[in-house]
C-alpha cells in the first residue's frame, strides 16, 4: 500500500518538477561518485570521520527525490538507483538540515567536479522548495521577511537609514566644511551607489570611507533614499520571487533617479545577485552598467582622480576571496590589483582565487544561529589557512565574509583583524586640499583626528557600560568619559538591569556572557519592559553565536553591534551614531 504523503511534501515534489531545467537535470544525473568533490569541501576537511558532509552524499539526498519522481529509472526500479520519495514533514526537516546546515553553497565542489555537477545550484533549488512551504531556519525566515516587507535584509527603516546618512554627512562636514557629504536622491548622477544594510546598521565607517573616495574623485554620485539594498536574500534562500522582487526595486530606482551607472559596494552575494543573477530573476532588462566598487576605485587611481599613499597601510596583509565574487563572478584579479596599490606588504594565502576556502559565513549563513557550532568547526580549514600567512590583517571584499572571518578569528584565537578594500583605500588617500576651518576662526590643527577634535561630543549623555571584564569596562568607560559622557558601570546581568531601571541611561553597552543574567536575558527583559524598551543598546561581544540577536529575534534588534576587540574610534563612532538616531526620534 502506498505511503500517505503530507500536504507540504506533495507540494515540494510537485514544485520540483517545475524547477527542473537542463542545467539542474544535467547536474542531477551526471554524478559518477568519483569523490573528487569530497576533498574540496571545507565541511568534509574539518569533519573527516563524517561522510554525511560529503557533497556527493548531500547531493544524493536531493537526487534520490528527483529519481523517484522525474527519472524513468527511479520510477521503475527505485531500489536499484536509490530513488526515494518524501513523505512526512519530518522528511522535510531532515532535508532542511542538509541543504541549509551542511552546505554554504560556496561552489568549491562545483569547480572541482570533473563532470560539471553544480551542487550549489540544485542545493539552492532545494532550499527554495522548502522555503515555499515554510520549512526554513528561523533566521532565514526573519531576514527574508525583512527584505520582502521593509526592503532590506536587516529591517532598517527609511528614517533610520536617511538619518544615518545625514549624520555621516554632518561628521564629514565637521572635518571638511565644504565636503558635499553624501548626496541623497540626486537626479541624473553619474553614479548611484548601493550598499549592504549591514553598513548602515553596524558598520557606517564603510559608507563614510566610500563617500570620502567619491568626493575626493570629484564624482557626481548619489545614494537612493529608498530601494537601496544591493544584497538579495533570494540568492541564499533559493526564493526566486524574492530575488526578482529585490533586484527589480533597485534597478527601477536607478532608472527613476536617471542614474548613469550603478556601483555596488563590496559584497560578494550582493554583487552576484545584483550584477549577474538579478536580471534573470526579475526578468528585467537593465539599461545601465553595473560595477563593483572595487573596479570604480581602481579606475579612480589609474585615471589620477584620487592619489593614494600605500605607506599608510604598512601591516602585513592577506586577501580572502569571497566565494560569490571569485567562483561565481570571476572577480579575482581586480581586488589584488587594488590591494597592491594601497598596501605595502601583501601576502597571498594558499589556495587562493577560485580555489580559496569559504569563510563559512557566506551569503547568509550567519543568519542561522542553530548551525553556528557546526559552522565554526568547519571554519578550522579557513583558520589554518589564515594562520599560515603570518599576516596581521585579512582583507576581503565582502560584508558577509567580514563577519564570517571575524567570528572564526575570535573562535580560533587568531591574532588578526579583518578589513575591506574601501577602508584601506580611504586610509591611503592623499588629500592635497587644505582642511578648511570653521568661520568662527577656531584653529584646528590639520593632524587632529575627528575623535579628538570633538573631545566633548558625548557631553550630557549618561551611558551604562555592562561587562564582566573589569579591564574592558575601564577601557570603554575611559574612552566615553574622555568624550564627556557620564558613566555608570555594571559587572553582571542583574546589576545591569538594576542600574538601567534606577538610572534610565541614554544608552547601554552590553556584553553577552556575564554572570547572573546573561546579556541575552538582560536584553530581552529590557526590550519587554515599557519603561526600558526604548533605551538604545549597543552589544559589545566576542561571541559570534550571539548574532542571533540580530537575525533570530523575538524582540526589536539592538541599535548597535560591535565585535571585540574594539578600538577607540569604533566605540565613539558607533555610540555617537546610536545617540544621534535616538535623538532624532525624540527618545
Amino acid at each position: 500500500m502506498a505511503k500517505e504523503r503530507s500536504h507540504k511534501a506533495q507540494i515540494v515534489i510537485d514544485r520540483l518538477g517545475k524547477k527542473l531545467n537542463r542545467q539542474i537535470v544535467g547536474s542531477l544525473v551526471a554524478c559518477v561518485h568519483c569523490g573528487n568533490c569530497t576533498d574540496a569541501c571545507h565541511y568534509v576537511l574539518a569533519n573527516p570521520g563524517d561522510p554525511t558532509y560529503a557533497p556527493a552524499y548531500k547531493a544524493d539526498k536531493i537526487r534520490s527525490i528527483f529519481k523517484r519522481h522525474y527519472d524513468w529509472t527511479g520510477r521503475i526500479f527505485p531500489w536499484w538507483v536509490h530513488a526515494k520519495s518524501l513523505h512526512t514533514d519530518e522528511d522535510l526537516e531532515e532535508l532542511k538540515d542538509i541543504v541549509f546546515g551542511k552546505c554554504t553553497n560556496c561552489r568549491r565542489c562545483t569547480i572541482n567536479c570533473p563532470m560539471g555537477v553544480d551542487l550549489a545550484t540544485f542545493n539552492r533549488m532545494a532550499r527554495g522548495l522548502l522555503v515555499s512551504v515554510g520549512v526554513m531556519p528561523e533566521g532565514v525566515a526573519v531576514v527574508s521577511k525583512d527584505q520582502w516587507e521593509i526592503g532590506n535584509q536587516m529591517g532598517v527603516l527609511k528614517e533610520d537609514y536617511v538619518d544615518t546618512l545625514e549624520w555621516l554627512t554632518e561628521e564629514m562636514q565637521m572635518e571638511y566644511p565644504k565636503s558635499p557629504g553624501i548626496p541623497i536622491d540626486t537626479v541624473g548622477a553619474d553614479v548611484v551607489y548601493s550598499i549592504n544594510p549591514r553598513e548602515v546598521k553596524y558598520d557606517p565607517r564603510t559608507i563614510s570611507d566610500a563617500a570620502m573616495i567619491f568626493n575626493e574623485a570629484g564624482e557626481n554620485w548619489t545614494m537612493p533614499a529608498e530601494d537601496w539594498d544591493m544584497t538579495n536574500f533570494g540568492l541564499f534562500s533559493g526564493d526566486d520571487d524574492l530575488g526578482g522582487g529585490v533586484a527589480r526595486r533597485l534597478y527601477e530606482k536607478v532608472v527613476e533617479l536617471k542614474g548613469k551607472k550603478l556601483v555596488i559596494s563590496e559584497c560578494g552575494h550582493g554583487y552576484r545577485s545584483t550584477r549577474c543573477e538579478g536580471p534573470n530573476w526579475a526578468q528585467h532588462d537593465v539599461s545601465f552598467p553595473m560595477e563593483s566598487s572595487v573596479i570604480t576605485m581602481i579606475n579612480y587611481i589609474k585615471e589620477g582622480k584620487i592619489k593614494v599613499d600605500k605607506s599608510k597601510n604598512t601591516e602585513k596583509m592577506t586577501f580572502h576571496d569571497s566565494c560569490n565574487n571569485a567562483r561565481s563572478c570571476g572577480l579575482t584579479e581586480e581586488p589584488r590589483e587594488l590591494l597592491n596599490l594601497v598596501c605595502e606588504n601583501f601576502q597571498e594565502m594558499y589556495p587562493n582565487r577560485t580555489e580559496n576556502y569559504c569563510c563559512t559565513g557566506g551569503g547568509g549563513a550567519m543568519s542561522m544561529s542553530e548551525y553556528t557550532p557546526q559552522r565554526l568547526i568547519s571554519a578550522k580549514v579557513k583558520a589554518d589557512q589564515l594562520k599560515a600567512t603570518g599576516a596581521s590583517v585579512v582583507v576581503t571584499s565582502c560584508h558577509n565574509c567580514v563577519d564570517g572571518l571575524a567570528d572564526l578569528i575570535k573562535h580560533y584565537k587568531l591574532d588578526m583583524k579583518v578589513t575591506q578594500l574601501v577602508n584601506l583605500v580611504a586610509n591611503a588617500l592623499v588629500i592635497d586640499k587644505p582642511i578648511e576651518v570653521p568661520t568662527e576662526e577656531v584653529s584646528i590643527p590639520a593632524a587632529v583626528t575627528p575623535v579628538v577634535a570633538e573631545a566633548a561630543c558625548l557631553q550630557g549623555y549618561k551611558i551604562l557600560v555592562a561587562d564582566d571584564e573589569p579591564d574592558f569596562v575601564t577601557f570603554v568607560s575611559t574612552v566615553l568619559e574622555d568624550n564627556g559622557a557620564e558613566i555608570i558601570k555594571a559587572y553582571d546581568g542583574n546589576q545591569a538591569l538594576e542600574l538601567a531601571r534606577k538610572e534610565k541611561p541614554d544608552l547601554m553597552t552590553l556584553d553577552i556572557t556575564m554572570p547572573g543574567k546573561s546579556g541575552i536575558e538582560v536584553f530581552e527583559i529590557l526590550r519587554s519592559d515599557d519603561e526600558l524598551a526604548d533605551i538604545p543598546v549597543c552589544i559589545m561581544t566576542g561571541k559570534p553565536e550571539l548574532r542571533k540577536l540580530i537575525y533570530d529575534r523575538a524582540v526589536k534588534p539592538p541599535e548597535g553591534y560591535v565585535d571585540k576587540p574594539i578600538d577607540e574610534e569604533s566605540i565613539i563612532l558607533n555610540i555617537r551614531r546610536i545617540l544621534e538616531l535616538a535623538k532624532s526620534k525624540g527618545k
Binding site: G134, K145, W148, K158, G244, R248, E252, D529, D530
Partner: protein, 176 residues
Amino acid sequence: MAASVKVKNCNLRLQKGDITDLDIEAFVYYAREDLALGSGFGTAIAVRGGPTIQKELNEFGIIKMTEAVVSAAGEMKAKYIIHANGPKFQEEDLPEKLKQTILNSLAKAEEKGIKAIAFPPMGAGFYGVPLDQSAEITLNTIKEYLSGETNLDDVVVCLNDNREYILFDKKFSSLK
C-alpha cells in the same frame, strides 16, 4: 494616478508605499497565530509603535486561523492595527481561508467603528501566496463586502513596489 473606485459609499483604492507608515486610521498586519510581531512589518510596528503593542497582543494568546484581533497602534500614524492570522505557505484550502481572513478583518474594523482601513497584498511576499491569487482574492473579497451594508468609507490596498502595484492595478481595472 492612483487607482480608485467607488463601491456604494466607500472608496476602494490602491496606493504604493509602506503600510506601517501610512496616515490612515487602521491597517491590517498579516500576523502569526501567536501574535508575535516578528520581523518585516513586525519590526516596523515594534520600532515605530513602541513596546505597548506587543504587550497588548500578549494578552490575546494564540488566535485561530482566519481570526483577527485589534490592537492600538502606539506611537504610529495609524490609530489601530488589525492583526489577522491568514493562511501561509501554500497550506490547504488557501483561497477560502484567505477570503475568510479578509472578511474577519473587515468585521473587526466595523466592530471597532473604524472608517478607514489599509490592507497589504494579503499573504503575498514572504508567506508565499502567489501575487495574482492574492490580488484576485483581496480585491474581490473587499469589493464584495463593500457592496453590502458597511460604515467604512475608505479602504486602501497598500502595495510595496511596482511589481505588486502593476499586477494589482491590472486586476483592479477589471473590478470597475
